[in-house]
Symmetry: C2
Subunit: 488 residues, 2 copies
């Protein structure tokens, strides 16, 4: 009775897997001949994964995959302890100025591990600062953040590896100016942590000139693999996340990811999705947690997967036609929004459910409205049962409709299981890179848009891009305006 | 100098379009021969749209598209005024118990039109209740909501057209029980509004038995077309949204949507996406607002598009292979997360930018760090410029890479422009239905999952589904567990 077990809290003596991967529903046994992966596909997968394993282990040993060693970095915990202490004693708010890889990891882990109403709790009940991640340059959005905090009780963590991220540096310039004006130059420093490259870049030079508190982003670790560096650990420690357990969980995930492929979740997850993308035309992978706490994990995964796998060419320069776009969703909410498309719409998706066996609360549904047949069946159950039954019912409905889906399950959402999940999926992204024969660590496609933006902003050296931008004139016949109305 | 104009606030005498659609970047002139729509495609589109226009207008006149008349419903404003007055005077929080179409519209409009920090402002500064939309049955998430509000200053709006939505009714049962226990049966009523079918369903029967305050969901208006009924208008009015302007804007949108197709944004938006999906294999449509205030509009659109278009068959029963999945994104944030995939990944997307010409704030970037070449270009600009230049730069980069994209622009985010946008996109969904020859108003694909859930919950009449669920045994060989660790 899986549904019974799923609701039961384990006793201290029991042991639990930190993550389970169930892929019954991508097999042809569940989906029907031709729709799912058959025995031959899975045998072939084993060969592919063995080759990828050799490749990855070799690159790891050469020091080319330093993110794999992050969970065992001893320095980060020392820094985290100091910051946690400072956060707790001195600040009401920690504001992260960062975007993409400098924002998503902290957001995801914070949402997973702090109370879901952490930021709206009164200070005494909260016990730790709020966390606000300023990951956009919307002027109204940024103003709303500043309107919500008092500078004197707010700590800012500027995060940019290169130091040149236009969004983050613009925010930093605004904040630096405001702190200086309202608190003075000497106090400013007590409100600022700069996380950037240990040696290079403009932000490193600024740090040294001004002697700002700072932490390094380890060399060779890109944004989307950086949540377990100072990038994520520092702000998370300051708002009360148990980063020791987080790193311990990640270390276990990495330990398992070095094991032979036959029982290696990172490899099997990558391998299944690779086969589904290449053999079964699954060009989309929907990551659909069934837990509010994991909603932002889907965002974090979206960056990890899409930046790692969205590559135009193989390493030999030949076209790479079969990438897989990660799409975020949230159960059960999106059953009432996206599921119709997943069930009956264009048939190019794999759905990955991300479930939780045991929630912290049960939320019993009272046995009222017993006289109404349409409602009486609900009383006596709990929301914890309902959300998991809905996940299971949806998975089955998709399978019966021939739509592949797989399920990752955490026993409970803890710092350990989240660390484990993060590290497993990061390894899976790199394994996917090996399977596709692409570079999973770069992101060349984002540069052109940046150059046009620099051109439009008038940055020296990008005049050509301004000209190039202006050289194409939008045709009025392709612009539809209508019904202008007097304002006021 | 479009970028200059885009930053300028208009004077009172000027007039503005409430919405502009620029589709230069889906044409072969911008994308290259074969990549975009050419003159012949666009001529053919005009014919298709003329046929769809006849179809839609005919159905409208038959009363089959009642959502088109919603903006002119006189009753709703009377109810809204009363509720607004009550909200302002008596409550700190309005909690919507609803999911899907009963939640997304209010969320989207609230985020667009109230200050982005509305819910975290102190009561006096806020002036209106907070809005909390409980659109999931996560037990921890629901507990966090209840932990954040005091029942005696909280108003609950239960929204379910059928009255049988398991998620909403479970929430309602919990809240009903708690209100009754803490405030007593007579006070309970003052904290409750039930929005449901005017005549049918269990919730209507409960309303009548208990004499609860209630509002109708008009007959023939489905969830994803219901934001301008009591479903959206009631909670929005209670938290300070100018619903009169919202409905006026929607009325203008509808007026324009009845105009000939040549200058009809709803039709052209639908037509372009239909051609891109069917002729150019654009199976995904990314809705990417460049404004924090519009982030939730992308969620609302996701439901509208995916439930309306995700249909397995044409009306004649033949397979419908070319649906288009809406994906939500947020600029500029997701440039650092999704853009790599949009630029270089699998080439099956159209990107729809949703831009704003003038923000409320400018957020000037101070002219500091002038000695650092990498930063000096930023000082003197504003975040308002930056976000729009990034949108424009990204659009151009995609075009140069042969990736189709179009841009919807609001002059400013106001109740009028949001109303206009909503109505235009709703009409576009129905026009798309006509082009695809599918039913855009139903959602048959979500039923099977519900039946399995009912079965698992033990609901009478669904025993077969429980049996059917249990009849398929998951094979252990397709479940990967590893490294169990002692807990504690």
């Amino acid at each position: 009775m899986s549904e019974k077990k799923s609701q039961k809290l384990m006793t201290k003596d029991e042991v639990e897997d930190l993550l389970t991967l169930d892929y019954n529903n991508v097999t042809s046994e569940a989906l029907g001949e031709g729709k799912g992966l058959d025995a031959q596909d899975l045998a072939e997968m084993k060969n592919l994964l063995s080759a990828a394993y050799k490749d990855i282990e070799c690159r790891y040993k050469k020091g080319l995959l330093p993110f794999m060693d992050l969970p065992k970095d001893p320095d980060i915990l020392k820094a985290a302890r100091k910051l946690a202490d400072m956060g707790r004693k001195k600040f009401e708010n920690v504001v992260v100025l960062g975007i993409g890889g400098s924002a998503l990891g902290a957001s995801a882990v914070f949402t997973a591990l702090r109370p879901l109403n952490h930021n709206s709790l009164p200070s005494a009940k909260r016990g730790w600062p709020r966390l606000i991640v300023a990951d956009n340059v919307d002027p109204d959005g940024f103003a709303a953040i500043l309107d919500s905090v008092e500078l004197k009780s707010t700590f800012f963590n500027v995060i940019s590896k290169s130091g040149t991220t236009a969004e983050t540096m613009s925010q930093f310039m605004i904040i630096y100016d405001q702190l200086q004006r309202s608190l003075g130059k000497s106090s400013l420093k007590e409100h600022l942590l700069v996380t950037t490259d240990p040696n290079n870049g403009v932000l490193r030079r600024i740090v040294e000139t001004h002697d700002f508190l700072n932490l390094p982003v380890p060399t060779g670790v890109g944004g989307r693999f950086s949540v377990l560096t100072a990038v994520g650990i520092a702000p998370l420690a300051m708002v009360g996340v148990n980063v020791t357990d987080l790193l311990n969980g990640a270390a276990k995930g990495q330990e398992d990811a070095h094991k032979p492929v036959a029982a290696n979740k990172a490899y099997i997850f990558a391998g299944l999705n690779y086969l589904l993308a290449t053999l079964k035309k699954r060009s989309s992978l929907v990551m659909m947690p069934y837990a509010d706490s994991l909603a932002r994990v889907a965002d974090w995964f979206g960056q990890l997967w899409n930046e790692s796998l969205g590559k135009a060419t193989h390493l030999d320069g030949s076209p790479n036609p079969n990438t897989q776009t990660a799409i975020k969703a949230l159960g059960v909410t999106d059953q009432h929004s996206q599921l119709q498309m997943y069930m009956d719409g264009s048939d190019e998706k794999t759905i990955c459910f991300l479930g939780v066996d045991s929630f912290k609360q049960q939320a019993p549904i009272p046995q009222i409205f017993k006289d109404y047949e349409e409602l009486s069946y609900l009383g006596g159950h709990t929301l914890a049962e309902l959300i998991n039954f809905e996940r299971q019912g949806t998975a089955r409905a998709l399978s019966e409709n021939g739509r592949p889906n797989l399920t990752l399950t955490l026993p409970r959402v803890t710092a350990q299981s989240i660390g484990y999940l993060i590290q497993t999926l990061e390894v899976a992204a790199v394994v996917s890179g090996s399977l596709y024969n692409i570079d999973p660590l770069d992101q060349p496609g984002v540069e052109l848009g940046k150059k046009f933006t620099y051109g439009l902003l008038g940055r020296t050296g990008f005049e050509d891009f301004k000209e190039r931008y202006k050289s194409v004139v939008s045709k009025k016949k392709y612009i539809v305006k209508s019904n202008p109305t007097p304002k006021g």
